[in-house]
């Protein structure tokens, strides 16, 4: 069956997703002083951020940090108590109806309709946006998310990762400028998470703006151009992953594996600040330019070791420093 001509998009060609590559700087989302208060808790406590066109912006934080509440206000699903939020230049939630065709949403814990096949679900969803797709276009959307082989399986029988990919396919039916992905990889096995990362990365390269909420630090570090770390309804840090790591991560760590107490004593005797961690000795180098001189100095000290390597700080170190706790599956651990 021949593909029908795609209906003209309701927004100017200059703003269409395919023509926006690298058009950074324009704010697709603007949030100022946003507050969401409930009788017993303040879920969002006066946050401000902007999301540039074409970037992946990540709201990162533990469960209950206020990420989903923030996103649902931006999706027009909740009313804020105070503050202002604008999406694609329109104030939300009041004006959300005007932009919903330009936005794709994959909610937290997305579940598809059990007894619809992916092909049927995408067709259905497109028709709900008054944007009917030809069979070829539906196949194209399904192919984009890598579900071609499963296009005729009941959603009930899809794996967790396949269901999330179907959610993204449904969100893509209107060729949206902006995608909200609320914890898209929560509960998935590592393989499925990696596959979704690849998909999200592909979407980013095609010029979509993506607001990604996650409690996986590696996910934000891997995918996001810009990260806002949230805790207790507030944004506690904001910047690119590399900038946050530089600012809060403590630089580079040199690991002297198997150096043990003897190695530790030898380093301290030569005036090197070190930390004994099991049988390893760790040396923190706060500034990147000092790594090479430090390695030379360590090489000149005679000590027993099995391996020497450097370890760059990660967002996990940043999170630990800022929040004072590690995060495991979205829960803060002591």
């Amino acid at each position: 069956m021949a593909a029908r001509t795609r209906p003209k998009t309701p927004w100017p060609d200059a703003l269409s997703p395919g023509s926006r590559g690298g058009d950074l700087g324009e704010h697709v989302i603007e949030v100022h002083g946003l507050v969401k208060r409930y009788p017993d808790i303040t879920a969002v406590d006066g946050i401000d951020f902007e999301v540039n066109r074409g970037e992946v912006f990540s709201l990162l934080g533990p469960n209950g940090a206020g990420k989903t509440t923030t996103v649902e206000i931006l999706e027009g699903l909740r009313d804020p108590t105070e503050g202002e939020a604008r999406v694609l230049g329109v104030e939300v939630p009041s004006g959300y109806r005007r932009i919903r065709e330009r936005v794709g949403v994959v909610p937290q814990d997305f579940e598809p309709f059990d007894r619809l096949r992916p092909r049927e679900a995408v067709t259905y969803w497109a028709r709900l946006f008054d944007h009917p797709l030809s069979e070829g276009e539906v196949a194209g959307v399904i192919d984009t998310v890598g579900l071609t082989d499963r296009a005729d399986a009941f959603a009930l029988n899809l794996s967790g990762g396949e269901k999330r990919r179907l959610g993204i396919a449904m969100a893509l039916v209107g060729e949206p400028e902006l995608l909200f992905l609320d914890e898209p990889t929560t509960g998935l096995d590592p393989g499925a998470r990696r596959e979704l990362w690849t998909l999200i990365d592909d979407l980013k390269r095609k010029g979509r703006t993506i607001l990604l909420t996650t409690h996986y630090l590696d996910e934000a570090e891997q995918l996001a151009d810009d990260v806002a770390i949230m805790n207790h309804g507030k944004i506690v840090a904001r910047g690119s992953p590399s900038a946050l790591i530089s600012q809060y991560g403590g630089g580079t760590t040199v690991v002297l594996a198997g150096a043990g107490r003897g190695g530790y004593d030898a380093l301290v005797a030569r005036g090197v600040a070190a930390e004994l961690h099991g049988s390893d000795v760790l040396v923190h180098v706060p500034v990147a330019s000092q790594v090479r001189p430090m390695l030379a100095k360590l090489a000149s000290i005679d000590m027993p070791l099995t391996e020497i390597y450097t370890k760059r700080s990660t967002l996990e170190d940043v999170f630990l420093k800022l929040v004072g706790a590690r995060m495991e599956e979205g829960v803060l651990a002591a």
């Binding site: 409930y38 649902e72 999706e75 027009g76 699903l77 909740r78 919903r100 065709e101 936005v103 949403v105 909610p107 937290q108 814990d109 997305f110 579940e111 309709f113 059990d114 007894r115 619809l116 049927e120 679900a121 259905y124 969803w125 028709r127 709900l128 946006f129 008054d130 009917p132 009941f154």
Partner: protein, 369 residues
């Protein structure tokens, strides 16, 4: 309209792929029709088993039993007339509901009466639970036969007799009265039970939030459900009618007013399901709430039993139930050819439907607080 049709298509696919939904919408009403139709249609009114101990074993006592059999109200079962068999003990041991004892000397007493002995008396004894309807039926039969014997002995002639005049246009059978009730039952259960659990499922699985991000409005979503249930009920009613006509020779037919009542009923109970959906938070609660409201309504509103046979306070309750007007309206137009009454009930049904729709559309929120 395109969005509504898209939702009808997607929802219909899911519904018809669910074996449970299809069973209760299409197969279960047919099972009820076959079951109740077989029980009540084959011989008109059911006969009551009556165990009789004929201690007299005379021509007169056998004539009395024969006369009982001829009433077509009872089925005769013999209790041994042997004097060693205790009537009361036999009833207890054999769990008999109603039993009659014709005492020794029955024929002799009748002969004395015929000879002019005005003090001649004989009692036949009916044992059983007077609160049971079977006892009442047996009592009527025994009293009628005894009365006949008394008239004969007195050489009296029958002055007042009872004739039969059917009050329906055609000669209808039990199935013709029963099937409209089953249609009403299906109009209640299929959309209302379905919508209540759908609302619960859509809320817990966040489908409402997902739908809220599309261009489909809440009113369109509900309209799609009403349209789907109308189509499903038409299919269900068509199957019921075919079974009723094909298996039981049913004479009642769908009329235009009956079709409108089905449409209005689907609208009414789909909307009521949405109203109940406001209060449920999970599918388990949804089922419990739908059962709590649906089951009493289906019995009180005359789906299975005529409302007129209920105590007056239950009849008052029945008049407040929306299903009553569908059941009675369908019977009025399909059986009694009384379209004026049926149209009145149609308007009442539409009134209920509009109120339920308004409350449901206003109260059911797709969004979060």
């Amino acid at each position: 309209m395109k969005r509504i049709l898209a939702d009808v298509t997607a929802f219909g696919r899911q519904y018809l792929r669910s074996r449970v939904g299809t069973f209760f919408a299409l197969a279960f009403p047919v099972i009820l029709i076959l079951l109740f139709g077989s029980i009540f249609s084959s011989s008109g009114s059911p006969r009551v088993p009556l165990a009789v101990q004929d201690q007299d074993m005379s021509a007169a006592s056998r004539g009395f039993v024969q006369a009982l059999n001829n009433t077509t109200l009872i089925t005769y079962q013999a209790i041994p007339s042997d004097s060693t068999v205790n009537f009361t003990e036999y009833i207890r041991q054999h769990s008999i509901n109603v039993a009659l004892k014709i005492p020794k000397g029955f024929q002799a007493t009748l002969l004395q009466a015929e000879m002019g002995n005005t003090s001649a008396r004989v009692n036949v004894t009916l044992s059983g639970d007077p609160t049971q309807s079977s006892f009442g039926i047996a009592y009527s039969a025994v009293a009628a036969v005894a009365n006949g014997f008394n008239l004969k002995i007195a050489n009296a002639t029958e002055v007042v007799s009872v004739g039969e005049a059917p009050f329906t246009v055609q000669q209808f059978g039990y199935i013709d009265f029963f099937l409209p009730g089953i249609i009403g039952f299906t109009i209640l259960t299929t959309p209302m039970f379905g919508m209540t659990s759908i609302c619960a499922e859509y809320r817990t699985r966040r489908f409402f939030k997902l739908l809220a991000t599309t261009k489909l409005s809440k009113a369109e979503w509900l309209a799609a459900k009403v349209l789907f249930y109308v189509l499903l009920l038409f299919l269900s009613v068509a199957i019921m009618m075919l079974v009723g006509i094909g298996v039981f020779g049913m004479k009642a037919r769908l009329t235009p007013v009956a079709v409108l009542l089905i449409v209005a009923g689907a609208f009414e109970f789909t909307s009521l399901g949405m109203v109940l959906g406001i209060f449920v938070r999970d599918p388990g609660t949804g089922e419990a709430l739908a059962n709590a409201i649906g089951f009493p309504m289906m019995f009180l509103a005359g789906s299975f039993f005529p409302i007129d046979s209920m105590p007056s306070f239950l009849q008052t309750i029945a008049r407040a139930l929306p299903l009553t007007y569908i059941n009675e309206g369908l019977r009025a137009t399909m059986v009694l050819a009384n379209d004026a009454t049926a149209v009145t009930y149609l308007l009442i049904t539409l009134g209920f439907a509009v109120v339920f729709f308004a409350v449901g559309a206003r109260g059911l929120s797709w969004k979060s607080k």
